[in-house]
C-alpha cells in the first residue's frame, strides 16, 4: 500500500533514447526504424509477439549488437557503436532470457562476480588477499550481502547455482545484475517459466529494486498481467516495427496491438 502523499520514484529526465534504430541479420530485419525513450526512474516494458525483435532491441541497448542505422543516447552521450563492457561501465546491467550464471559457482560467488568491475586492486593484489585488497573485498562482500538480504536468498548463499531451482537461479541472476549498481537494468523475460507464486515474488522484487535503489528498469515480458501491473510505460513491437507506445491502459486499448496479439482476419 502506498501511503497518500508518498510518491513513486520521481520519474524525470530521459535516461536513454533510441532513435530510428534498424538492425538486420542478412536479409532479415530484426528491428526497423524504432524510436523510444526510457526516463529516469521508470519501469519500461517492451512487449510483442514472438519474433517481434524485443531481445534484439535489448541487445542493441547494451551493445551486444551494433545497429546498422540509428543512434542511441545514454546519459546525454550519443553513440552508434558500443561494446558490452562499455555499457556495463556506463551503468547498464542485464539478465538473460536463459539464465546465464556460472553454474558451478555458489550464489554468493556469482553475485560477487557482478562486483568485478568495481574492484580496483590488481590481479596480484587480489591473489595475495592481503591488506588493501582484503579490505576492498570485505567492502564489496558487504554490498553483496545487502543484496542477498534484499532478495531474501540467505539460505542458498553457499549453494552452487546449478543445483538451484529455476526461479531461484533467476533471482541470483538479478542479484548479480544489482551488484553492478546499475543506473539502467535490462531484464529479459524475468518471469519466463515461473509459476504463479514465483512470478509474484519476482514482481515484488522488481518493484522493490525500482523503489529501493531507484534503478531504472527496462523489461521484456510475455505475461500481460505482469506487464500491466509493473510498468509505467509500455512499448509494443511487432515484426521489428514499433506499433504502440504509452501507458499500460493506452496500449491495452490500441487497435494495432490487439490485432498483433489476436491476429487479423484476412
Amino acid at each position: 500500500m502506498r501511503a497518500p502523499g508518498g510518491s513513486e520514484v520521481a520519474v524525470g529526465d530521459v535516461l536513454l533514447s533510441v532513435e530510428s534504430v534498424s538492425l538486420s541479420f542478412g536479409g532479415v530485419n530484426a528491428v526497423s526504424d524504432v524510436s523510444f525513450d526510457i526516463r529516469k526512474g521508470e519501469i519500461r516494458a517492451i512487449i510483442g509477439p514472438n519474433g517481434a525483435g524485443k531481445t534484439s532491441m535489448l541487445n542493441v541497448i547494451n551493445g551486444f549488437y551494433q545497429p546498422q542505422q540509428g543512434r542511441i543516447t545514454f546519459k546525454g552521450e550519443t553513440r552508434t557503436k558500443m561494446r558490452p563492457y562499455e555499457a556495463a561501465r556506463g551503468g547498464i546491467a542485464r539478465t538473460f532470457q536463459n539464465v546465464a550464471l556460472f553454474r558451478g559457482m555458489t550464489a554468493l560467488d556469482n553475485i560477487m562476480a557482478g562486483r568485478s568491475l568495481k574492484m580496483t586492486k590488481g590481479f596480484v593484489w587480489q591473489l595475495l588477499r592481503y591488506g588493501p585488497a582484503m579490505a576492498e573485498e570485505v567492502a564489496h562482500r558487504r554490498r553483496v550481502e545487502e543484496i542477498i538480504d534484499f532478495l531474501k536468498i540467505q539460505e542458498i548463499r553457499r549453494t552452487p547455482v546449478g543445483r538451484l531451482p529455476y526461479g531461484l537461479q533467476k533471482r541470483v541472476e538479478l542479484g548479480r545484475a544489482l551488484a553492478m549498481e546499475p543506473e539502467l537494468l535490462l531484464l529479459d523475460e524475468p518471469m519466463a517459466g515461473m509459476n504463479m507464486e514465483e512470478k509474484e515474488d519476482m514482481s515484488r522484487f522488481v518493484l522493490d529494486v525500482n523503489d529501493h535503489y531507484g534503478t531504472t528498469i527496462a523489461l521484456i515480458e510475455h505475461d500481460m498481467g505482469v506487464v500491466m501491473d509493473l510498468s509505467d510505460r509500455v512499448v509494443v513491437l511487432d515484426h521489428g516495427i514499433k506499433i504502440a507506445d504509452g501507458t499500460p491502459d493506452e496500449v491495452k486499448n490500441n487497435q494495432a496491438v490487439i490485432e498483433a496479439y489476436l491476429g487479423v482476419a484476412h
Partner: protein, 658 residues
C-alpha cells in the same frame, strides 16, 4: 547461576539489570545479519532496552497499556518485549504468519495502541485491517526496506526510537525516572499476554504475571542445570509459549545467550553454526531432520552406506543404555566409541547438535523409533508435557528415566491430579492469571478448588509413575462395559508403523474397539516389490491377503502394547479392515491439517462400520470420490474384515524407549 539473585528479582526488567551486573561481558543475544553473526552482551542489551523504553514512552506508551509485537525471531522484537516490560506495559506477541483477520482480532481484543513490527509485510497487513483497529495509533518497525515511501506520521523505525531515547537518557533526571519505573514494577504485574492459536474456537489471551513466570522458569533452569554458558537458537514462533518460556524467560533467569537465525529458511544452517547447548524441537521437526539424513544416506557411496547401517545398528543396541548409564559389555562400548568417531559424531555435527546438552521435545506424540534414534546416537532427548496456561512445564522426564510413551514425572512444585473423567488437572507455579477480558472462559477451565483443567486425558503409569497423555479429554469415550476408550492413543500407536498411513478407531458406546486402516502406499509398495506381491491398483494392494497379514502383525503388536497397562488393556483392537481408498481432504474425510474427521468417516462408511460390529467377514461399499479437477466418480469395493485375538493383561517387563 546464583539462585538467590534470581529469587530476589521479581520482574524481568530487574533480572535484566542483574544479568548486566553478573554477566555484563557475556553474550546475551546473537543475530546473523548480512552473513555475519552480530553479538550483544547483557550490558549492551540493557543499554539498548533502556533507551528503547524511553523512546517508546515518549511515543506515548504507558504503564498498564498493551503493545503488539508482530514478527519473527529478531533481537529488536525481543527487546520490544523487554522495553515494554520496563515501562510496565504488557507486550502481546502475535504470530508472524497470522493472516490479517487473526491479527485484527488479537490487536482489537488486546486494545493495543502500539505495535512493534518486523517489516513491510506486517505493516501492510495491519494497514489492511486498520478500520477494525480504531485504537491503534503508532507503529514502529525493524526492517526499513520497502517502507521508505509510506506516510511516516504514525510509523517510525525502531532505530530512531532507540536513538531518541538514548539522547533523552543523557539527562540524569530521565535516567532516574526510568530507574524508578523499573523499581515500581511488581511481581504481580502482568508480564505478557500470549494468545492461544485457537484450534478450538476463538483464540484466548492468556495473561502471565512477572513473578509466576520467573518462578516457573527458575524451576526448569534448576532442573536442567542451565547457566550463563548455555546457548539456544530461537527459531520457533515468538508468539508461541514455547519460545517465550524456553528462550526469553529461561534466558533471562539463567543468563544464557539466545541466538536468532538469519531467516526462517536458514534456521538449520544457523543451528550448525551456533551449535546450541539447549535445543527444543517438536517431533515433526525431528522427523524431517531424520528423513533428510536418511535420504542423503541413500545417495551416499556403498562403503559409507554400509558403515552407516552397521553403526546405527550398534547404536540401537547399546546407545540408549550407554546414555542411561546402564551396564554395557566392553565390546559394545568399544564399538559404540568407534561409531561415535565415524558416524554419530559427524552426523550430530552436520545436524548442529554436537554441543547439545539438553534436548527437549513436546507438543504431540513422538514415534518410539524416532525418539530412540536420536537418543541412540547420544542426544539426550527428553519429553515434557505442558500448557500455555501452566507456563509451561507440568511433567518432564528426569535423566535416566526416559520412555517414549510417557511424558515424565510431575515437575517439582507442580500439583498434578487425574480427575474422575480421566482429565489431567494441575496447580503450577507459573499458572496464568486468567484469560484477558474473559472471566467466563477463565472460570470454565478452573475447578472450584483452584485447579486448572488441561482438557487432556491421561493417567499415571503404574510401573514408572510417569504421566501418559492419551487424548483430548472430550474425545475419550467408553466401551459399553465401561472401559476407557482413547481413540487417538490407539490410532497413534498404529500410525507409528511406516506401513500404516492413517487409522480410524471406533469404540465409544460400542462393545469393542474396531479400526479402519489406510496403508501407506510408498512403504507397502516397496514391501510388495521386495516380497514379490503382484497387484494392479491401490485397491487391489489394499485388499491383498498378504497385506492383511502384514497389517495384522502390526495390530497384534499394538494390542500387546495396550495389554501392558490395566487401564488400556480393555481397549484392544478386536476387528480391523483396510480401506480400499485413501482418506482424502478433498472428500472431507480428513482436515487440511491432516486430522481424521472420525464422525464424518463413520457416516460415509456406514456399511463398513455396520459390518465391523455386525460380525460379517466382508462388506460392500461404494463411495463417491472427488477428483482433483472437481469431477466426481464412484469407487465400489468389497472390503474384508479380520478378527484379532486379544492379549491377556500381563504387565510386560519395563521397556525402555530403545
Amino acid at each position: 547461576m546464583a539462585p538467590n539473585a534470581a529469587a530476589s528479582a521479581d520482574t524481568f526488567p530487574k533480572l535484566l539489570i542483574r544479568n548486566a551486573q553478573l554477566y555484563g561481558a557475556r553474550p546475551a543475544m546473537r543475530h546473523k545479519d548480512l552473513g555475519v553473526w552480530q553479538t550483544w552482551t547483557w550490558a549492551q542489551v540493557l543499554e539498548i532496552v533502556r533507551a528503547y523504553a524511553v523512546g517508546l514512552n515518549r511515543l506515548g506508551l504507558m504503564r498498564g497499556e498493551t503493545i503488539a509485537i508482530v514478527g519473527g525471531n529478531r533481537p529488536k522484537l525481543y527487546w520490544s518485549v523487554m522495553a515494554a516490560q520496563i515501562l510496565g506495559a504488557v507486550p502481546v506477541p502475535v504470530y508472524a504468519d497470522a493472516v490479517a483477520d487473526e491479527l485484527a482480532f488479537v490487536l482489537a481484543h488486546a486494545e493495543t495502541r502500539f505495535a512493534a513490527v518486523e517489516d513491510q509485510e506486517q505493516v501492510d497487513k495491519i494497514m489492511s485491517v486498520m478500520e477494525r483497529l480504531p485504537k491503534l495509533e503508532e507503529m514502529v518497525y525493524d526492517e526499513r526496506r520497502g517502507l521508505r515511501d509510506y506516510d511516516h506520521s504514525h510509523l517510525r523505525p525502531m532505530d530512531e526510537i532507540i536513538a531518541e531515547g538514548r539522547k533523552a537518557l543523557a539527562d540524569p533526571s530521565v535516567a532516574a525516572w526510568l530507574d524508578s519505573e523499573i523499581a515500581a514494577g511488581k511481581g504481580s504485574d502482568p508480564s505478557i499476554i500470549l494468545y492461544t492459536s485457537g484450534t478450538t474456537g476463538a483464540s484466548k489471551g492468556v495473561v502471565m504475571t512477572e513473578e509466576r513466570s520467573i518462578k516457573a522458569a527458575s524451576d526448569t533452569v534448576a532442573f536442567d542445570h542451565l547457566n550463563e554458558n548455555d546457548v539456544a537458537l530461537a527459531y520457533l514462533p515468538l508468539a508461541w509459549v514455547g519460545d517465550h518460556y524456553l528462550n526469553y524467560a529461561q534466558g533471562l533467569v539463567a543468563g544464557f545467550c539466545t541466538a536468532c537465525p538469519e531467516s526462517t529458511d536458514t534456521a538449520m544452517a544457523d543451528l550448525r553454526e551456533i551449535g546450541p547447548t539447549f535445543y527444543f524441537a517438536p517431533p515433526r521437526t525431528l522427523e524431517q531432520l531424520l528423513t533428510r539424513v536418511m535420504i542423503r544416506m541413500e545417495d551416499a557411496g556403498y562403503l559409507k552406506r554400509k558403515m552407516f547401517r552397521f553403526f546405527i545398528g550398534v547404536a540401537r543396541k547399546y546407545g540408549e543404555r550407554i546414555l542411561n548409564k546402564q551396564p554395557v559389555p566392553l565390546t559394545g562400548r568399544l564399538l559404540y566409541l568407534l561409531g561415535e568417531l565415524l558416524v554419530y559424531g559427524p552426523l550430530k555435527n552436520v545436524l548442529g547438535l554436537s554441543r547439545v546438552r539438553i534436548a527437549l521435545t513436546a507438543g504431540e506424540a513422538i514415534g518410539p523409533d524416532l525418539f530412540a534414534f536420536y537418543r541412540s546416537i547420544g542426544l539426550n532427548l527428553k519429553q515434557f508435557y505442558g500448557q500455555t496456561e501452566a507456563f509451561l512445564f507440568l511433567t518432564a522426564q528426569p535423566d535416566g528415566q526416559i520412555y517414549s510413551d510417557t511424558v515424565g514425572r510431575t515437575f517439582p512444585n507442580v500439583d498434578l491430579r487425574i480427575a474422575e473423567n480421566g482429565e489431567v488437572q494441575y496447580k503450577a507455579p507459573g499458572m496464568f492469571a486468567g484469560y484477558f477480558k474473559d472471566d467466563a472462559k477463565t472460570a470454565e477451565v478452573m475447578t472450584p478448588d483452584g485447579y486448572v483443567k488441561t482438557g487432556d486425558a491421561g493417567f499415571f503409569d503404574e510401573k514408572t509413575g510417569h504421566l501418559k497423555i492419551i487424548d483430548r479429554a472430550k474425545d475419550v469415550g467408553k466401551l459399553n462395559d465401561g472401559t476407557l476408550f482413547p481413540p487417538k492413543y490407539i490410532e497413534n500407536k498404529l500410525k507409528f508403523f511406516p506401513n500404516i498411513r492413517e487409522a480410524v478407531a471406533y469404540g465409544d458406546k460400542r462393545d469393542f474397539v474396531a479400526v479402519m486402516i489406510n496403508i501407506d502406499l510408498t512403504a507397502v509398495e516397496s514391501w510388495a516389490e521386495r516380497n514379490n506381491v503382484a497387484y494392479g491398483s491401490y485397491q487391489e494392494l489394499a485388499g491383498h491377503p498378504q497385506v492383511y497379514d502384514l497389517i495384522e502383525q502390526h495390530v497384534a503388536e499394538v494390542n500387546r502394547s495396550l495389554a501392558q497397562d490395566k487401564k488400556t488393556a480393555g481397549a484392544q483392537i478386536k476387528r480391523f479392515l483396510i480401506l480400499h481408498k485413501e482418506l482424502d481432504a478433498d472428500d472431507g474425510e480428513i482436515t487440511r491439517t491432516l486430522k481424521v474427521r472420525r464422525g464424518f468417516v463413520a457416516e460415509r462408511y456406514a456399511p463398513l462400520i455396520k459390518a465391523l460390529y455386525g460380525g460379517s467377514k466382508e462388506a460392500d461399499i461404494s463411495t463417491e470420490v472427488t477428483f482433483e479437477d472437481g469431477r466426481k466418480g464412484v469407487i465400489s469395493a468389497r472390503v474384508k474384515i479380520r478378527d484379532m485375538k486379544t492379549e491377556p493383561v500381563v504387565p510386560a517387563p519395563l521397556e525402555k524407549a530403545a
